[in-house]
Amino acid sequence: MSGGSVMPLLLALGLAPLLLGVIIRTKAVMAGRVGQPLLQPYHDLRKLMMKGAVYSRTTSWVFRAGPVVGLAAVVVAAALVPFGAPALVSFPGDLLLFVYLLALARFFTVIAALDTGSSFEGMGASREVTFSALAEPALLLGLATIARTTGSLSLSAMLPHVTGAVWAHGAPPLALVAIALLVVFLAENGRIPVDDPATHLELTMIHEVMMLDHGGPDLAFILYGAALKLWLFGALLIGLALPLHSGHLWLDAGARALGMLLLAVLTGLVESCMARLRLVAVPKLLVGAGVLSVLALLLVLRSSP
């Protein structure tokens, strides 16, 4: 339990909605529109917090607890991820805690959705859970590969140690893990090609459908939690892909923040240029990502017996 800096957590909490704004703005620009202001997500969150909430009579405490627990879990997970500086909380094995905190958040979102008793939520919940189940091996095995390469099981020790020398020494496995993590990033956050975040058709919704019945502060919690999740996965990916360690806190954090913005722009570009995959093709994509992670792990295991 080594104490780190509080900066990664603060950056995450503060800048996460900006990421969403950048993605939406990129999509608008690609579509030829001006688009909403970059800081619009903050305004949306503020607006939602000021509203009241209406709860259906068919729901129970689960429905009310879902968004809250979900947000809490993601905030705690944010304390585990390094970003230019070691994370606030770090210990060996914290990568597992990270993955399972996110799983907890997802679980509560899903059961809150099921609690409403509506069939649309049920459909979305089953899809969401299936895709997450398939994406989890890719994520865990990819993290395991990085752990094996850097020789430690703590996120704060792993990611800063992925330096340029490590990349030069064993580029292929790390490249494969980066691709796998990119696919996981797109899948877990409900981005195209896995899910369309801007769809209005209930039959095509996966993530959106679980937010359908929430309103007011609950919806704000869910949206903010989603933005934080986006930031966290992006931080993992940038931590792997950007082997810059100058030692200066602000320089590292600044470089990474720039990387995150680039990632957001890239996501926006991908969303503008690709269509969503057919639902039956998504498992193939996720299994493919899992296979890439497995391949990377096998390569790393082989070269360091």
Binding site: A171, K284, V287, G288, G290, L292, V294, L295, R302
Partner: protein, 217 residues
């Protein structure tokens, strides 16, 4: 040189996985062509004698054959056959990918048990060749269309060629050229056979070729 060879070998592994998961015949043909081109690179990466022309000539011939001629022959057969350009497997795509992963783990383990002589190129050659061989055999067995069986056979030959390139330096060029010639004629004849199968049966499903049989039913 080992770094280059490693990257090429990992790309070959990736192409094999793409073949396992791809559902479009046209994409499969292109991926097998890409595999052949990658093997050409491997030939270049593995040559011992930098001054002899043997390796570049072989690389050129094999790349030309596998990257250009074979896809052309197969696409022609595909176009003449005019069937649905979907692979139609017996074993689903996700399951194929998982089985491919098992093959990969198995070949890495098996290659660790084989005592290699002087490793000429890279320690990854034997496992990658074994894995690609298993993928080729799997494709022949688990895919319905005759054209995919031809592709599986090509992948098998690619794997064995990779073995040859990785382990053996002394084969005379004539023999290697003879092997390539055989391969060319084989693909040519198989392409013609596929065309005839389609003309005869109106499809190219090899599993429908079940008339000649001694077990009833």
């Amino acid at each position: 040189m080992s770094g280059w060879a490693d990257t090429v070998l990992i790309c070959i592994v990736l192409t094999s996985f793409v073949l396992l998961g791809s559902s479009r015949l046209g994409a499969c043909i292109r991926v097998v062509a890409l595999q052949g081109v990658l093997l050409g690179f491997l030939t270049l990466a593995g040559r011992q004698d930098a001054s002899s022309l043997r390796a570049p000539i072989l690389a050129l011939v094999s790349t030309g054959l596998k990257g250009v001629v074979f896809p052309w022959l197969l696409f022609r057969a595909l176009r003449d056959a005019d069937v649905r350009r979907e692979v139609e497997p017996f074993v689903g795509y996700s399951l194929s990918l998982l089985i491919g992963t098992a093959f990969l783990a198995g070949s890495l383990w098996l290659a660790g048990r084989l005592p290699l002589p002087n490793p000429t190129m890279s320690p990854l050659v034997v496992p990658v060749a074994l894995f690609t061989m298993l993928v080729g055999l799997f494709l022949i067995v688990s895919r319905r269309k005759a054209l995919t069986q031809v592709l599986g056979y090509l992948v098998l030959e690619n794997a064995i060629y990779a073995f040859g390139v990785g382990l053996v330096e002394g084969t005379p060029m004539v023999v290697e050229l003879g092997v390539l010639l055989d391969l060319f004629v084989a693909v040519f004849v198989m392409g013609i056979a596929v065309f005839h199968i389609n003309r005869e049966f109106d499809h190219i499903d090899a599993d429908q070729l079940r008339t000649l049989r001694d077990w009833a039913g």
